[in-house]
């Protein structure tokens, strides 16, 4: 029974459904992400709030802090997708049953929904608490989508790599941040343009190119990372 594309999609859906079903039963990632986002949000806005960041400073500083909150929240909640498979030894059954590329896409979709949920939770609260004035909200949503996608795909691939190593928690940050830094530079730049209302000349296409490049790298490297 050759594996044709229609059933490949069914495999991706099966992995995605399994991830969310397990997640709803334990709510482990949801809790981690939500709590982590809220605490960093409060800490950041507290450090900004009383200081009363002026309007001009705001447009320069606030985008950076937003993306730092998102980065650290993703680093806290996303690696679990692969780390838990190895720690509970369910990875063996998965290696013997799932097509690697379908597994990667299933986990990626799961990561995407988590990141977008996180952004939907954090961004409005962040804008409100730091009175972050955004001239073109449309651009902000675009950068949240593209940046969120980059965070998800980068984190999913790095999570798959560290899942098979020791000291997974710390190792994830060490390995993921250099990969995600170029993405952050671009998302901060575009967010700054969104705040000030100016046109993001080249940063947005570069951001989309980064997403595409890391996705291709993920699809090529994941099967080799996942299987011996």
């Amino acid at each position: 029974m050759r594996r044709n594309t229609s059933t490949w999609g069914a495999e991706v859906a099966a992995v995605f459904a399994k991830e969310w079903r397990c997640e709803f039963r334990t709510r482990y990632s949801l809790n981690t992400l939500a709590l982590f986002a809220c605490t960093t949000l409060v800490v950041v806005s507290f450090s900004l709030g009383p200081l009363g960041v002026s309007r001009s400073q705001g447009t320069a500083l606030l985008p950076v802090l937003l993306w730092i909150i998102l980065l650290f929240s993703v680093a806290a909640g996303l690696p679990r997708a692969f780390v838990q498979e190895e720690e509970t030894h369910t990875a063996t059954a998965l290696r013997l049953a799932a097509t690697p590329s379908a597994l990667f896409c299933g986990k990626l979709l799961y990561g995407l929904t988590l990141v977008f949920a996180l952004e939907a939770l954090v961004t409005p609260v962040y804008v409100a608490m730091t009175s972050f004035n955004v001239e073109s909200p449309g651009l902000l949503i675009a950068v949240l989508a593209a940046g969120g996608y980059g965070l998800a795909v980068g984190s999913t691939l790095v999570a798959a790599i560290i899942a098979q190593a020791r000291s997974k928690g710390t190792l994830f940050s060490v390995l993921a941040f250099p990969v995600l830094l170029p993405l952050l530079v671009l998302t901060v730049e575009v967010t700054r343009c969104a705040a000030s209302g100016s046109a993001p000349d080249v940063a947005l296409p570069q951001l989309l190119l980064y997403d595409a490049v890391v996705t291709v790298a993920g699809l090529m490297l994941f099967p080799v990372v996942w299987n011996p």
């Binding site: 691939l157 790599i161 560290i162 098979q164 190593a165 020791r166 000291s167 190792l171 060490v174 390995l175 941040f177 250099p178 990969v179 830094l181 170029p182 530079v185 671009l186 730049e189 080249v202 940063a203 570069q206 980064y210 490049v213 890391v214 790298a217 490297l221 080799v224 990372v225 011996p228």
Partner: protein
Amino acid sequence: MKKLLAWLLWLWISLVIVGAFLYAPLAKGFLGESSRILFFHVPMAWASFIGFIAAAVWSGRYLFGRRDPRHDRAAAVAIELGLVFGVFATVTGALWARIMWGAYWNWDPRQISILISLLFYGAYLALRAAVDDRETRGRLSAAYALLGLVVTPFLFWIMPRITYSLHPEPVINAQGKVEMEARMSQVLYASGIGFTALFFWIHNLQCRIQALFDRRAAL
């Protein structure tokens, strides 16, 4: 034959040293002799990147070839050496920045890019240290090295346009062409070739040392 090549390299780099200080004129618009560090700072950065690229090639051959442990070892050694050369390049760059602009570190995009790629390959070594099984370690670190080949160029491409650049762009490659007098670029490229040759010589020696260690460890 190898001995002859070695002594040829000795002569080559000796000439580069003499040329850097006596033969090449001073770069315009720089403080006195300090610009001569250019002939050592830049080639070391080149050798470091060539090392990282070579490591990615070995990693690719390891992963998508016969999973030959020699390729895995060559990639790891190339990255270790690339980090050493990268650190030297950063230090010489900082020294030069100190002389030229009064500060060791001034968040110049080129400096940031080099630093982040060194962080990346430092993470590569952390990954190798955190995996025990030789086969898994080879596979995971090779994948990460290939990911590096994809991600780090982004740094160098996006950084310069995002932040104002203090780096001597006009001298090195303003609009992409080298605006240096012929004698300067001769010495610079000769130095680049010399340092790259030195890089791969040390790489060869280090690989053979590592091989001896692995053989003794396996006894």
